[in-house]
């Protein structure tokens, strides 16, 4: 029960949000010395069991991890460095006004049930994400779609109401499912390199190689995802060879036993998970930019990260992680400086500090971080009252009712800097210039233009200390050295297994 990584919106809800994380595959791992065994079954250990098997039905982070790219495929795929490449789409064209997308489907693709892939399935799958009862975390990222038409069995045309430069990127999260499959909560019908062999709830999920896959077949005979609720139990499973790889190590204290052991490799990948001290920018004292800057400067993020993750993880000065094209190093903005913090507080009319309540989710690492923040802010005269709340209370009190002064929360979503363009978001940041930049960025004509605008927005929120971005989580995959070809990045919560070989 120790380290459950819960996303933005509390336990169950968060798993839906986590769907949004973007990603990569076919990453690292040492090249195996022994010849890989094509009949080997890879045993994967994970803390994220699917709620159900439908990513538009609340399946959560777990089903993304197990099924994305393995069982289901999209028109596009996100590569290891976050680039979008065609998968089920053989080609696509965009009209001059940027509103009409025409996709041509790859030939010879069959669902696991045997049915051939047609444009009707693609239309059905996109509509499934956008349906009123859809619980897809992608739903809110999609632009308004005017129409989807299917001129012939291999062609899909999508017309948008407004330009959306992220449209193709977002499509890489849309699983193409058989339009005849019906309810997919407990079964699957995808086009991927694996088929579902069994799911023992609370315990494991088994995938086996799809013998009639349209593309490059999987390099192993199958994958078993073993699910754990306790991080130590997961580590023990790895130590006893019950699992070959851990998709995301959440137990910093356990790393030493693998780092010092030649039988294991600890991989530091890229993550999207940011720990925020989020102010309510609409209420006193945090409606004053000077106070926000003072608090940001008074907290030694480096010391905090070191105390929780040791040498793993990294500092970010704003909402954008280094893997996004619009990243700039902003760690120097409102950097740790106690004297500057005191001066800013005096300027803002709080020479003797003030008192505020910090709403703190009750699971790791938030309580530890809250205690650290409290002791740091005490040095500049600010008194912090720590109020521990459950994920559900967080969702209701902070996220829905915005009834808070400041809170701690981990944000797992990719490209979520755009939320600073929404004045109604829970943190209440309202800078019309930033809102305009973010809106323009989405309707930009080129990626260069989009990048330029989002860079400006990101720099502005840092200058305004819209929130205090404490650190970027590490993404650590620990694996047996017998294994190679596994993904190491957690940008999208997914775990492409088809390239894994066991020596």
């Amino acid at each position: 029960m120790k380290k459950q990584r819960i996303a933005l919106l509390g336990a169950a809800l968060a798993t839906a949000v986590a769907l949004a994380a973007c990603g990569s595959g076919g990453g690292s791992g040492s090249s195996a010395g022994a010849a890989p065994d094509a009949n080997a079954v890879v045993q994967v250990g994970s803390l994220y069991e699917p709620q159900n098997l439908d990513n538009t039905g609340g399946g959560g982070q777990g089903v993304t991890e197990a099924f994305n790219g393995n069982v289901y495929e999209g028109l596009f795929r996100l590569t290891d460095d976050g680039k979008v490449e065609p998968l089920l789409a053989a080609s696509n064209t965009v009209s001059a006004d940027g509103l009409t997308y025409t996709f041509t489907l790859r030939d010879g693709v069959k669902f696991h049930s045997g049915k051939a892939l047609t444009s009707a399935d693609v239309k059905y799958s996109i509509e499934k994400v956008l349906a009123p009862d859809s619980k897809s975390a992608r739903k809110s990222s999609f632009p308004e779609i005017k129409s989807i038409t299917t001129p012939d069995a291999r062609t899909v045309t999508v017309t948008l109401a407004a330009r959306s430069i992220s449209f193709v990127y977002n499509l890489s999260y849309v699983w193409i499912v058989n339009d005849q499959a019906g309810n997919l909560a407990a079964k699957e019908d995808g086009t991927g390199p694996y088929t579902l062999d069994g799911w023992k709830r609370g315990s494991s999920l088994t995938l086996k190689k799809n013998p009639s896959y349209w593309g490059t077949p999987a390099k192993n005979a199958g994958v078993v995802f073993h699910y754990f609720t306790d991080g130590s139990a997961l580590d023990n499973a790895l130590l006893t060879n019950a699992v070959d790889v851990v998709t995301s190590e959440q137990n910093p204290d356990a790393l030493a036993q693998f780092t010092d052991n030649p039988a294991y490799k600890v991989n530091d990948g890229h993550s999207n998970t940011k720990l925020l001290l989020a102010f309510n920018d609409k209420v006193a004292p945090f409606n004053d930019v000077k106070v926000r800057k003072a608090v940001s400067s008074a907290i030694d993020d480096k010391k905090l990260l070191q105390s929780i993750w040791g040498d793993h993880g990294s500092l970010i000065g704003s909402m954008v992680p280094p893997t996004d094209p619009w990243y700039t190093d902003l760690t120097g903005v409102n950097a740790y400086d106690v004297n500057a913090a005191k001066a800013l507080l005096a300027e803002a009319g709080h020479p003797n500090g003030f008192t505020f309540t910090l709403d703190t989710p009750n699971y790791d690492p938030h309580p530890t971080v809250a205690a650290f923040v409290k002791s740091e802010l005490a040095k500049v005269g600010i008194t912090v009252n720590i109020n521990v709340i459950t994920p559900d209370q967080w969702y209701t009190k902070v996220y829905q009712n915005k009834d808070f002064t400041a809170t701690l929360q981990e944000h797992v979503n990719d490209r979520d800097v755009v939320w600073y363009g929404d004045p109604n978001f829970y943190w209440g940041y309202d800078n019309p210039q930033v809102t305009a930049w973010i809106k323009q960025a989405e309707q930009a004509g080129s990626e260069a233009e989009q990048t330029e605008l989002l860079k400006k927005a990101n720099q502005q929120i840092a200058a305004d200390a819209a929130s205090d971005w404490l650190y970027l989580y590490p993404q650590i995959v620990v694996a047996s050295t017998k294994l190679s070809g596994y993904p190491v990045n957690g940008l999208n919560s997914q775990f492409y297994a088809y390239g894994i070989t066991k020596g």
């Binding site: 919106l9 839906a16 769907l19 975390a137 709830r201």
Partner: protein, 318 residues
């Protein structure tokens, strides 16, 4: 006896109904809205209302309760709010871990505790009698999860003779693996259970050993084993059986910590997940099944006591 059985069974059904009402109402008192579990970022009030309608929490409580009861009557537990999957099959699947775990631990605990508890009383003044008492004290003091971690460290991480946790994907179809997976959890639960049982057996035995009727039996020429068997065991067994019933019932859901340590898909972890997610059908389903189990165990313990002790059958006890 038949009349008693009928009366006792009717009481069981009545208690079960009452318990259902109580657990149904208590659940609704929990703060938080289960509809939140269904929504993603930026849900509008309309979507929240739609979600409430979808799972039926917008209906009046009596209607919700009636719906649940009518499902139960046809042996359905409804669909989970969160996963939309039926709750019943998951409960059955998890019972295939929890029931063997509980029963095996129970049998092991009884097999160990009865002789050890007897020795601790009968030979209280020898070194092994004292040792038995000491060991049971220690067993009570040790938290179950710590003992589990210790056993994992010794038998899984170092000796490598048993798995550290998990349960085979195909369950009992691969019997040897399933069996091996349960060895350490069973021992962990059994040790903790046995430790408290030993103390009950010991004190029950001490009572009997000091009793007048046993001394009289011996004075009339019975051998010690003969006197113990005819006049001692039955008397000592009555309080022990009722404690056994309670222990068995507690372990049924109380094994949740052990399930987490050993990554077992048991009923306890299903309940904890359900509570965290406000998943009423899951919580209701698990608690209903476990309440039923507790009541049935209590029923069996009562009958066992009446079989053991004739006084409970007749008018003497009344």
């Amino acid at each position: 006896m038949t009349r008693y059985l009928v009366r006792r069974a009717a009481l069981l059904v009545g208690t079960l109904l009452l318990a259902s009402v109580v657990l149904f109402l208590l659940l609704r008192l929990l703060p938080g809205d289960p509809a939140n579990a269904l929504l993603s970022v930026g849900a509008t009030p309309d979507q929240v209302a739609a979600a409430r309608h979808q799972i039926g929490t917008d209906r009046p409580l009596p209607a919700q309760f009636g719906h649940w009861l009518s499902q139960l009557a046809t042996l359905h537990f409804g669909d989970s709010f969160v996963s939309s999957l039926p709750v019943g099959p998951e409960i059955v699947s998890r019972l295939s871990v929890t029931v063997p775990l509980t029963l095996a631990a129970f049998v092991l605990a009884v097999v160990v505790a009865v002789p050890v508890g007897f020795l601790a009383a009968h030979r209280a003044h020898t070194w092994y009698g004292a040792l038995a008492g000491l060991v049971s004290q220690l067993g009570i003091a040790v938290p179950a999860f710590w003992l589990g971690l210790l056993l994992v460290w010794v038998f899984a991480l170092n000796l490598r003779v048993l798995p550290a946790g998990g349960f085979p994907p195909d369950g009992w179809s691969s019997f040897p693996d399933a069996f091996r997976a349960l060895v350490l959890p069973v021992v962990t639960v059994a040790v903790v259970m046995a430790a408290s049982l030993i103390r009950y057996v010991r004190s029950a035995t001490l009572d009997v050993l000091g009793s007048d009727h046993l001394r009289t039996a011996r004075a009339l020429g019975s051998s010690f084993p003969g006197a113990m068997w005819r006049h001692g065991v039955r008397n000592a067994a009555v309080p022990v059986v009722s404690v056994l019933g309670i222990e068995l019932a507690t372990t049924f859901l109380g094994a949740v910590v052990i399930e987490s340590v050993f990554a077992l898909p048991g009923l306890g972890s299903m309940l904890v997940r359900g509570i965290a997610q406000h998943d009423y059908p899951v919580i209701q389903g698990v608690l209903f099944v476990s309440t039923l189990a507790v009541l049935v165990v209590g029923f069996l313990a009562d009958i066992a006591q009446r079989l053991i002790d004739p006084r409970l059958r007749g008018g003497i006890a009344r």
